[in-house]
Structures are given as C-alpha cells and as structure tokens.
Amino acid sequence: MNDWIHFLSTSQPLFHFLALVTLIAPASGSLVLVLLSISGVRPSERWVAVVSGTTVSTGAIAAMLLGLVSLLPPKTEYHEVLWRMYSVGHYHLDISVYADRLSAMLTALGGAVIPVLARYSGRYLHREPGYLRFFVLVGIASTGFFWFVLGGGIDMAFFGWELLGLSSALLVCFFWDRTETVVASGRVFATYRVADIALLMGMVLLHHYVGDVSWPSVLGYGAGQVGFQPGVLGSTILCLAFLIAAMGKSALMPLTGYILRAMEGPTPSSALFYGTLSIHCGVYLILRIEPLLEYAPIARGAVVFVGLFTAITASMSARVRADAKGALALSSAAQAGLMVAEGGMGWTNLAMVHLLAHGLLRLAQFLRSPSWLEDAHTRRSHLGGGAFRSGSYLENGLPRPLRDFLYAAALSRFGVDAFIDGLFSRPLSRIAHLVSATRPRIRSSESGRITSSPMPLQGPRSPGALPTSISPTAPDARGARR
C-alpha cells in the first residue's frame, strides 16, 4: 500500500496527465460547442448538456485526483512547468501547475460543485434560447477557475482570473432582452476590470521585484517562507494591489455593490460565481499571499479591516434584503469578508475550512432559492398553518432610534455605493460629458436631422450619473430617454 502511495505521489507522468486534463478538458467542450454553433449546426439540448457535462466533469474529476495526489506523502507540494509561452531576453512566461494544500482544497470544491451545477442547469434552463451559450460560458468559467487555482504563478492565475470575470459578466446579461441585465453586466464588468488591473499591477510588480513570478519563487517552498526579500514598502504595495484585486472579485467593501446587480443572471450562474467559485477567488488570493503579509503590517491591518468591515456591513444589509438571491449574495460577501479577515490574522487553516464549508452550503442555498418560498409554504401547511415566526434577534435588544438608524443604513448599504459613485463613476461621467460637449453636431437617429447641440449624458432623474452600466444609482436612463 505504501509503495502505491509513494508511486502515486511521485509519478511525474501521472501529475502531468491530470494537470493537462484539468486545464484543457472544460475548454474543449466549449470549443466543440462554439465550432458547432459557428458551422451552423444547432445541437439539441441533450447533446449540449452531454458534451458540456462530460468535458466539465472530466476536468473536475481530474482536478480532484490532482488535489488528492498532491496531498499524498512524502511530497505535499508540486510545481511543474508544462511549457514555455514566450521569452524576451531573460523575461519569460511559463505555463505551469502548482498544487499544494490550499489549491488542492479549492480544486476539490470546484471539482465537486461544477458537475452538480452542470447537471442542475441542464434541466433548469430547458427551452431557454441561450441554452448553448450558457454551457459554453460555464465551460470557460470552469477553465478559468482551474487555471486560476492550479496556476503555477501569478501569470497563469491572471489568465484564469480574466476568463472567470468575462464569463461571469456575460452570464449576468444572459437574458439579453431585459435592459436591466445588460446594465447590470456592465457594472459587474467595470468592477471586475478594476480588480483585473489591480492584479495585473501586482503581477507586474512581482516581475519587477522577483523576475520570476512562479508561486514557489515568490513564496518559497514550505508554508510561511517568502522566497524573496521585498522590503516593507515593496511588500505593502504588492499586498495592497492584491487586496484591491480581492475586493473586486470577492465583493469586499467598498466594492460590494456589484454583487446585487449580478443576481440578474440565471440562478445556476449566480450559484456558480457568487455562491461558490468566483466569490472565493479573492479569498484564495489573500490566503495565497499570506506569507507576504508578514513583511507588510500596514497591508495586514488593511486586509483585516476590509474583511471585518465587509462582514459586518454586508451581513446587516443581507438581513434587510427582501429578495432571496440578494440576501444570499450579500451573505456570501459577508462570509468572504470574514474569511479574508481570518487570512489577514494568519488563521489560514480556519479560513480554508470556512471556505470549503461555506462554498458547499451556499451552493445548496442558491440552488434551492427559486423554490424556497414554495417549500416554506408547503412545510408550514404540513405543520398546520399559522404565520411565520419572526424569531428573536440581537437587534431587538437595541434602542429603537439606533435600530432604525442601522436599518436605514443597511438598506442603503451604508452609503458605500454612493461613495464609490462619487469617487469614480461621477467624475468619470463628468469627464465623459465634458468630452462629449466638444463633439461636433450629431445626427438624431429618429429623424435623421442634424441636432444643434449634444444631448445630455445623464438620464433626467439622476444628474451626475452615467446612464447605463457604470452607475448603480442611475434609473433606467435609456428607457427615460426613449
């Protein structure tokens, strides 16, 4: 038995094979579906589900096996360069795989969740016009997730991060025919883009400081050891860049607002991104760079503060939400905040267990949310009817004015969205407005006549806000203008 374990844990070809299958299989399903679609063949729902389910599940199984193999003694960490993408001088970009306890745990979560979701979505989206599109995007998202988690360096992690972000934004506007979904996807995309740029900045800084950005070079083999000496300033800048990236991906304060708009997507995609996988990517990033925080006490403090602030505000906002998906999304953000705070305090193991448990629980909650109300009524009628009990909560013990104040603050999500708007969206909108004012006269699309002055950028009811996706507070400006 021990010989077998030793063989499995030290077999390079096996590791290579599993890594390749994990990284390529989900994307291959999407590629097949896209090629079929482009060539004019419209595969039936059954075939779409079979192709997508098979490839995604193959990738998931390989990922779980990879996680298992990487945990077997005597070697508990693997780093393999699969191939070199390109090199210029002594700068190079490698495609590599790094598996340790942390990535194995998140890989296992993805491996367990993705096939379940694929199966669930096959029935849930029956006869939807975008059935094929959904499965193509799920394949891309799965690829992105595995590349992010198993990537041997920050370059590969960035690759997966971007794929995950784009597929997420495209799934938010899955229902093209509703303006709100399209507007919401723009907001999601803009927030993700902020996170992308922060991660890119971190990646470039790592190239600058270390030269090689593979995880073993950056963090060193063995937990708690940093592979290079970045100094306090360098570590602080690096960690803050990664924190901003995590804030975007894990909906931490003050970038929590987009997660509610992301609920415009179909329930399976909400469960996939905002219940289990995407929401935890920011947490994973913080846990991954935790050894670096040793050198950056200010950044460590910022991580803990952001995490706790998110946990408190998002959980209070979740309690006043009237819709199930919105409440679940905010609860996810609150838990992610808590995990980030745990990571910041150095309790990595606790954060890992928390992440795994939360991912599985939230998946079940999201998938049950469409039928939850009906189930509750059924349950109540089986128990003999009567009103729902409101329960006894901590806030009942607070003085009434304070309780009202907190209630109002939680409803407006503590004004953070408005603050972000004032900080980014409105200035950007004003600049865009100023730029527009310098444009030459434009044609009116309705009449074909030349209009004498540019029309205002904002909708009539929200001066200072971008009319579509950038601003969360703008009403349906397009509808107002039309």
């Binding site: 679609s37 482009i38 004019g40 993408m85 390109y86 090199s87 210029v88 001088g89 002594h90 700068y91 970009l93 599109r133 370059d155 690759f159 971007e162 784009l166 934004a169 506007c173 093209w176 025919d177 303006t179 507007v183 996807s185 723009g186 995309f189 803009a190 883009r193 740029i197 890119l200 900045m201 470039v204 800084l205 190239h207 600058h208 400081y209 270390v210 030269g211 090689d212 290079f228 000496q229 950007l428 909108s429 600049i431 865009a432 407005h433 730029v435 527009s436 434009i442 044609r443 699309s445 540019p454 029309m455 950028l457 009319p467 579509t468 996706s469 950038i470 397009r478 203008r481 039309r482």
Partner: protein
C-alpha cells in the same frame, strides 16, 4: 539604385499589409458595391505600397509611394480634404527635410550627424504624423483608415527611432504624449459608448473604431519610444494584436443581425484577454514600462481599464439599441453568422495567443533591427553570466538578494 531593407521588421509589417489589403477588398466589395476586379486591384495596390514602404531604405521611394497612395486612396474614397492629407503632408515634409539634409538611405540615419535643429524638426514632423494618426477625429461615417496606420509607424521606426536615440528627451516626451493621447481616446470612446443611442449605427461603429484605434496606436507609440527592450517588443506585438482586434471589431459590429458571441470575442481581443495575442503585448508593454517609468505603467493600466469598460458599455448599448429598434410585434431575428474575416482574425488571435513563442521571436528580431540603443536585457543577461562565472571562480557577487536585482539597471542609451 534602390536600397532595400528586408529585415525582420519588414516581415512583421507584411502580414499587417495583407490584413489591410483584405479589409479594403472586403469593404470595397461589400460596402461600396464595387466589382470584384476593382476591389482586388485596390487591395493589391495597398499591399504593394505598404510592402514596398516597409522594404525600402530610400526616403525618396517612400515619399513617392506615400504621395501615390494618397492619390489612389482619395480616388477610392472620393474625398480629398481630410485627416489623411495632413498626415501625408507631415510625413512628406519629414522625408523632404531628411532628403534635403543629405540622407539618401534610412540605413545612414544613425551614422550621419544631422545637427540638433534638423533632428528636432524631423522628430516633430514624424511625431505630428503619429498624433494625427492617433487623434480620434471622425470626419465621415465610414472610417477611412481603421487599421493601425502602418505607414506612419514604419516612418517612425525607420526615421524617428534612430534619430531619437541621440535625443535625451525623446524617451520621456514621446511616451508622455502618447499616454495623454491614449487617455483622451479612451475617454472619447467612453463618451461615445455612453450616448450610443444618439448615433446612427454606422456612425457609432466608426466612432468606436476610430477611438479604439487611437488607444491602440498610442500604446504602440508609447512602447516603441519608451527606450526599454521589453516595452519596445511589447509595442510591436501590440501593434499586430491591435490590427487583428480592429479588424474583428469592424467585421462583427457592422454585420446585421449582429453576431453577438463574435462581437464579444472581438471585445475580448481588444481588451487583451489572456489567451489572445493582445495579452502578450500588454504583458510585455506593462513590464517594460514599469522597468523605466512606473508612473507611465500605472497610467497605461488605468487607460486599459477605462478602455475596456468603455468598449463593453458601447457594445451592450449597441445590443440594447438594436433590440429596441426592432418592432416588438415581430419575432427577433436569428443570431447573425460570423463572417470569414471575423473567424480568421479570431483564429489568428487565439492561435498566436496560445503559442506566441515564434511570433514573439519575430517581434524581438524586428526590434533588434529597428532599435538603436543598447539592448538592455541582453546586457543584463551578459552581466548575469559574468556574475555566475565570478561565483564559480569563488568571487562573491556584488548584487542584491533577489534575482531581479542581479544587475544594476543600465542606462537607456
């Protein structure tokens, strides 16, 4: 006797010339309803002129060719007074000054001392050409030059880079101007995307293409003039990726019914999604800029963020407008099929993006052919080799504690 310069840079430009020719043939055939023979003739002329301009080392031949091209394009487009005229005039003036100062070949520019005044005049004229190519000014609905201004950039690499190597402010002023222009273009695109429903569809597509072209060309210009090897190679790769992205955007956005998946893929190409060639260019450019000018690198990243959000905004607004313009009582039209051009550019972007090694090698060789400052990274490699030899010989290296600090940064020139 015509002097030729068939170096790696020529081979890098040639595919761009082919793409430009294909775009012209397609536009002439489908939009201007010209006969196949006429469309192919215009495409062949374009290919020939750009190809010869990239291959020639003679300023006189270059001057004749750009004048000829201006005449041909004016006939083709039926428009005499536009931005192209100013661009050709600026390029022509730079070449005339070069010829008047006795430079008969691009090969001789680095060796001849032109004097500071003449150098600056030529640099300003070439810079003006690039600024004119970048500025997001749209005179008519149909874009006249949506691709990546090959002639202006050939002139920049052949003339401005060798002269700029002697000009201390060149590597500071040009990237700063390019960065400012990229920000202007991105904001212009944002404003166009935000008021998408106030444009006619063809105007909006032209607006998007012109602005995006400005952003891409600014980045290329910024990279080429930065004085860092990585950023220069990144600039060349970004130029190539920009050509593909613009072609893909044009081919998908002008098609009705709109092929939405392909339009989003074109967007992914334009925002340099990993897996496409644009990512390679962005990665090299960002890393190179950070080596010498961290503030510029930060601005570069900020502009890429604004550009991506603006493009996304414009695209979703197009989709919503098309849907709103459709009579509600009629069924929505079926999804549009992507064109051959769209599929070809997408396939090229993905194939080169996933296996960029040979292409990056070509760009590196092209960079070696056009740059005239010491090759910084190669110097560092040699320095590292020397340190290793010293270490093997038992001498302690006098370097920092991490690999990035293995050699002190060399000067730009």
């Amino acid at each position: 006797m015509i002097d030729w310069k068939l170096d790696a840079f020529f081979w890098l430009v040639l595919p761009i010339a082919v793409l430009e020719a294909a775009r012209i043939a397609r536009t002439e055939l489908k939009q201007h309803r010209r006969a196949l023979s006429g469309a192919l003739a215009f495409a062949a002329i374009e290919l020939l002129i750009i190809g010869i301009c990239a291959a020639t080392a003679s300023p006189l031949v270059f001057l004749v060719l750009i004048s000829l091209r201006h005449a041909i394009v004016s006939i083709r487009e039926g428009q005499l007074w536009d931005r192209r005229l100013m661009k050709t005039a600026a390029m022509g003036a730079a070449l005339v000054v070069l010829l008047a100062s006795g430079v008969g070949s691009f090969n001789a520019i680095a060796a001849i001392d032109l004097g500071p005044t003449l150098q600056r005049v030529i640099l300003v004229l070439v810079g003006l050409t690039c600024v004119l190519a970048i500025l997001p000014v749209r005179i008519e609905d149909e874009p006249k030059e949506t691709l990546v201004a090959p002639l202006a950039l050939i002139l920049f690499t052949r003339v401005a880079l060798p002269i700029g190597a002697h000009e201390p402010l060149f590597a500071i002023v040009v990237p700063l101007v390019a960065a400012a222009l990229s920000l202007v273009c991105a904001l212009w695109l944002l404003s166009a995307g935000a008021r998408a429903n106030q444009f006619e569809p063809s105007s909006l597509v032209s607006e998007i293409l012109v602005c995006e072209r400005g952003v891409i060309l600014s980045f290329v210009w910024m990279g080429l003039a930065s004085g860092d090897d990585l950023a220069e190679v990144g600039g060349l790769v970004y130029w190539w990726s920009g050509a593909l992205a613009l072609l893909a955007l044009e081919a998908s956005l002008r098609r009705r019914p709109l092929p939405k998946p392909m339009a989003f893929f074109a967007l992914a190409m334009a925002i340099s999604l990993p897996g496409t060639i644009g990512f390679v260019g962005e990665d090299l450019l960002a890393n190179g800029l950070l080596e010498l000018r961290p503030a510029l690198a930060a601005l570069f990243m900020g502009v890429t963020a604004i550009n991506a959000a603006a493009l996304y905004l414009a695209l979703v607004n197009i989709i919503v407008d098309l849907r709103d313009a459709h009579p509600p009582h009629l069924p929505q039209p079926a999804e549009g099929r992507p064109s051959t051009m769209m599929l070809t550019t997408a396939a090229l972007a993905v194939v080169i993006g996933l296996a960029p090694g040979p292409f990056v090698d070509l760009a590196t060789r092209a960079h070696t052919a056009v740059v005239h400052h010491p090759n910084r990274h190669l110097e560092e490699d040699r320095e590292e080799d020397r340190e290793e030899e010293k270490a093997e010989a038992g001498v302690a290296p006098d370097v920092g504690s991490f690999p990035g600090a293995a050699s002190p940064p060399a000067s730009i020139h």
